[in-house]
């Protein structure tokens, strides 16, 4: 079966996110004053071939742990759906 995974990667909450901070500081320049604490991460989509969802989950998790995410600085979560 083919699954599609959507992975959300975010910098750990305790770490300064300079991109987010810069965006937060500049939103008032376009007249938006109600937004605070922007944090910017990554969204990764990928397709995975696996026998079932459990196996797909294991493969995606391995990809995250080994390459897609540096767990020293980032956290991640993902969802899986059967690819139509």
């Amino acid at each position: 079966m083919k699954f599609i995974a959507e992975i959300q990667i975010m910098p750990h909450a305790e770490l300064l996110d300079p991109q987010g901070k810069t965006v937060t500081k500049n939103l008032p320049n376009i007249g938006i004053h109600a937004i605070d604490k922007v944090r910017i991460g990554k969204h990764v989509e990928l397709e995975v071939e696996a026998a079932d969802e459990a196996e797909a989950s294991e493969i995606v998790d391995q990809a995250c742990q080994k390459l897609l995410v540096n767990t020293i600085m980032e956290k991640y979560e993902f969802t899986l759906a059967v690819l139509a």
Binding site: L15, L16, P18, L67, I72, M73
Partner: protein, 236 residues
Amino acid sequence: MKFGVIVFPGSNCDDDMVHIIGQVFNQKVEKIWHKETELPNFTTEDCIIVPGGFSYGDYLRSGAIARFSPIMNAVIEHGNNGGLIFGICNGFQILCEAGLLPGALLKNNQQKYISKNIVLRVETNKRRLTQYCQTNDLLTMPVAHGDGRYYCDAETLQSLKDNDQILFRYSNSQGETTETENINGSIENIAGICNKAGNIFGMMPHPERASEQTVGLTDGQQLFMSLMELKLETAV
């Protein structure tokens, strides 16, 4: 002693490194393409250099893809066997991604790429890379990075201190490691570290760009001479 300089797609300090090692210090040096899978000509007496640059365009995270280049298994094995490894800038990032050094390099805290000469304070001279320095020596050399904010968790930081693994801190010319001098927001101004065993080194600043009179800076020579265990008058 011999040097091997790994070349990844996007490395750009490899030629500087080969020049300094070969021409300034007259030591044996060869480039090693990242597609190689072995280091047959190198023993644990030798040093593998992981140079600066933008390997794989810094895609995903700086050093994250290079860490899985074919040569890296051999580099990791070399380090695990006690061989010397020295990573500079992107090389430091790669060694952290590979787990050869603790911690990670995050985006500079002010979201700017920094390219300028800075002052480093030597934190220990009990390690091979700094053995010819004195503790608290001040070295001037350039930095050129966007992702240089060294970070590790509190437990790792304590372990770095307990085991004398912090080699350099960003400093001012009076030797004060204030927040003002902390150019990229690194934890406790850390600019360079080594592993616990003391055979693997990583630093963000560029000693290979500060090792000959022609470029106006020579403080980097102290590190190369320490690493090579050369007599002080050897460098040209």
